[in-house]
Structure formats: C-alpha cells, structure tokens
Symmetry: C2
Subunit: 239 residues, 2 copies
Amino acid sequence: MPRAIFEGIYRDLKGKIQEGSYAYQEFLPPESTLTEEYGCSRNALRRALSMLADDAYVQPMHGRGVRVIWQRKDHSTQGVLEGVESFGEYARRNGLEPSTSVKSFEHVVCSAGLAHRTGFAEGTELLRVVRVRSLDGVARQVDHDYFLASAAPGLTAEVAEESVYSFLEERLGMRILTSRRSITVQLATDEDCSYLELGPYNCVAVVESQSYNSDGVMFEYTQVRHHPDAFCFNTVSRR
Amino acid sequence: MPRAIFEGIYRDLKGKIQEGSYAYQEFLPPESTLTEEYGCSRNALRRALSMLADDAYVQPMHGRGVRVIWQRKDHSTQGVLEGVESFGEYARRNGLEPSTSVKSFEHVVCSAGLAHRTGFAEGTELLRVVRVRSLDGVARQVDHDYFLASAAPGLTAEVAEESVYSFLEERLGMRILTSRRSITVQLATDEDCSYLELGPYNCVAVVESQSYNSDGVMFEYTQVRHHPDAFCFNTVSRR
DNA sequence: GCCGATTTGTCCGTATGTATC
DNA sequence: CGATACATACGGACAAATCGG
C-alpha cells in the first residue's frame, strides 16, 4: 500500500473529526503544532488540510485558525451519491444487494445528433448498453451507457450483467479519473415507467456524465434515469 | 487587484484552452517549459494545473504530459448552475432579467425538527424568508431561506426583494466561502403549483444547501424548489 | 491607535521517486 | 538503459490577517 504522506494525514484528521476528537466549530491545532505531531513538512500538512477544506470538513481562516465545520448526521449518509462511484460500490457502502438486468446490448456508429449529445466524435464506433439496476430486488434506475468500443475490447452482455467498471479496471487496467456530470429532471418516458415502479411520480432524476480514463480519452457517456425516491446527490462548492 | 501568481496562470491557461490555443486532446507544454514561459516556480505552476484539473479542463498523466479534455459546446452553458452562485449572478451571466417576490418574512426560533433538517442548533433565532424568483417574468423557483438572525442584522423584506447576497457581502462584509448541497426530486406541493406554472410536471428539483461564512459559522440554510425546465446542475468529480 | 506575537497564505529552490517512452 | 515528465516532499522566506497588550 504505497500511500502518500499527505494522504495519511488527511485520513487521520478526517477520522479524528468524525469520531469527535475535534468537535464541530472547534479550532484545529495550528499548523506549526500539527507538523510537529505528524513529523512532516508544512507543505504536506497544508495539502491534507486543503483536501479537508474541499470536503467541507474544515474552513481555514486567515490569521485565526482552522475551524471544523463537519457535523455528524449531516442529514443521513444513506442513499447518497458521492463522487465517482459505481453502482456496486454504492450498494456495498449502503449494505444493499445489487442486481442488474441487461435490456439491450449493441454496436452503433456515432451519429451527428448522438455526437452533439454525448461529446463523442461523429463516426466513432460505440457500444450501447441499456440496463435496469435494482437494490434488494427493487428497480431503482435505468442506465443508458455508450462506451468507446476501441477502449473496451471484450466487453460483452454477460460482463455488463455484472460490473462494467470492475471489468475495465481489473481486466483492462483502465482507471476512471475524471467525470463531468449534469443533473436535470425530466418527464418519465414509457420506457422509464415500464422498468421503474414510479408510483405517484411522473418524473425521473437524470444524471448525464462523461467519463475520462487515465489516457485522457473520453471512453464513456452515460445517462442514468433515477427513481425519485432513490436519488440524492451530495456536493460541495467553494469560492 | 492583488491577484496571486498561481491564479493569474490559472486564468491565462484557462482562457487559452477556451480560445483554442491548446486544443481538445492536445498536450500542454511540459511543466519545465511553462515555468520558464511564466517565469514562476514549479509549485505555482502546478497549483494552477491542479485547479484546471479540478475543473476538468485538463488531465495530467504521469510520465506523459498534461492533456486538454475541455471541449467547446460542452452541452450549452445556458441555464446551468455552477458552484456558489446567487440567483442574480446567474441571471446576469445568462442575460436574463431577474425579479423576486417576497411571500413571507418572519422571525422564528429553531425547533427540534427544524434543527434536524437544517443543521442549526435548536433554540437559535432565525429569519425565515420565502421568495418566488422569476427570469424575464416567468417564475422559475421558490426559495425557502433560513438565515441566522445574529449574522444578518438589518435584513428586511425590502432587502430580500433585491439581493440578500449582495447585502450580506457589500453591507456586512460577509463572505460566503463554503456550501454543502444535496439535490433531490420531490412531488410538487400545492404551494409549488400555485407559484410555478408546472405544466405537465408533478415534481420539482430540490436543492438544499448549508452555507458557511468566513467565520466558519453556518449562517444560511436554503431549500430551493426549481421548475424542472429551469434546472440543470453541472459538476465535476475526480478520484 | 500602535506594535508585536500568532497563524494562515503565497512563493521559491531543490531533491527524490516513479511512470512513460 | 537513459531521457523526459509528472508526483511527492522538504525547508526556508516573506506577506497578510488577526488578536492582545
């Protein structure tokens, strides 16, 4: 486990905040003290603090100190999307049993309209996959995935039934590093209604995302249509 | 304008990418070249690059180079929420005429239920404001704001009719630095329907946010209920 | 109001590690 | 293997904001 120093400090401080060693609204010890405690350089420590600030765990104040702004029960942490996370990882984190049903699996060539929607270049060979994903047997979302065919050799419907991400990462050694997302609300289509038990809702939450692998190549465009009851997206903004 | 070196480089590079000096999928010059061009240290340059990576403008690749992954017409930039942005800033950026109608303005004391929902401490004095916000005369969203009364002295219904943020920032010298958000989809309430012309939709996009000022004090909890047609939230994830 | 101590913010130069070519 | 390029880490310096006497 080759872990960077700043990452170790980051995790340690994060844990201490979560367990209450540093309480909500309290100030962390000054940088000078922490660098001594961790026996590291100021740069390494400051990088860890900066990551905690990105997570909205702390807020540094010029000339004053670093205040903890994380609080437990920050709304329940269940049923929440975070960062770049696959469906399976999400299920595991919430203690639910995931299952997937592949509804469609085909090769397509990227049309002009599709190019505009997805960001793939026109004429590119793509793999189109439609899947319904359930947790504990209840259908929660419909995935419409487009994979760059050249980047996913050996991807089959059987694989898609399991986890595409673990296939890409473990089999092909690909890493997903960056993902651009947009969230909208749309009227449910007949297809949505046939797959999801929408109950009183006539809308779904739609997350479109473009994902880039470690080569800086966009290899996936996904539109995920979520059941409103099974959708909560958390994020932090700073300026 | 006291601007940090890394920020100047960040803006310069960002502009060059947007105007096409560095094209999509192209590699930036290596760090060594860029530090020479900008006459700065490697640290300053790397910080700028790191910010561009956070914006999904570039993707650094170990041992290879830094590739541009931003592309123009990354879906239209209209009608899009970004970062910590007020309604007025958003309207101006999209060339629309904002207007606001205050529906309610009252002092309340934070109850146990409200404390759990908002994250304010029970018993805190709050200012509750309900506003309907329109663009070019069309109602787009209903805001339910709770402000920490002690942090917003002099806030009146008349001020709320204009911009609360510019009041807080310009009058009180407060800065909003960090904001935690969650996005969900909920059934429209009778109130939603009475304010927004929802048409075929029976749902709204709900953005809840907790905002912290420069003192690290949570001074605002907001629940904004958006018309589905007027809602698009963009974000970037990395891991 | 001033001054000095404390604390965070920015910046630099350098060294070493590691992945890619 | 060597050259290139990004990643991590250290130590030192000065600036800027805050606070207390």
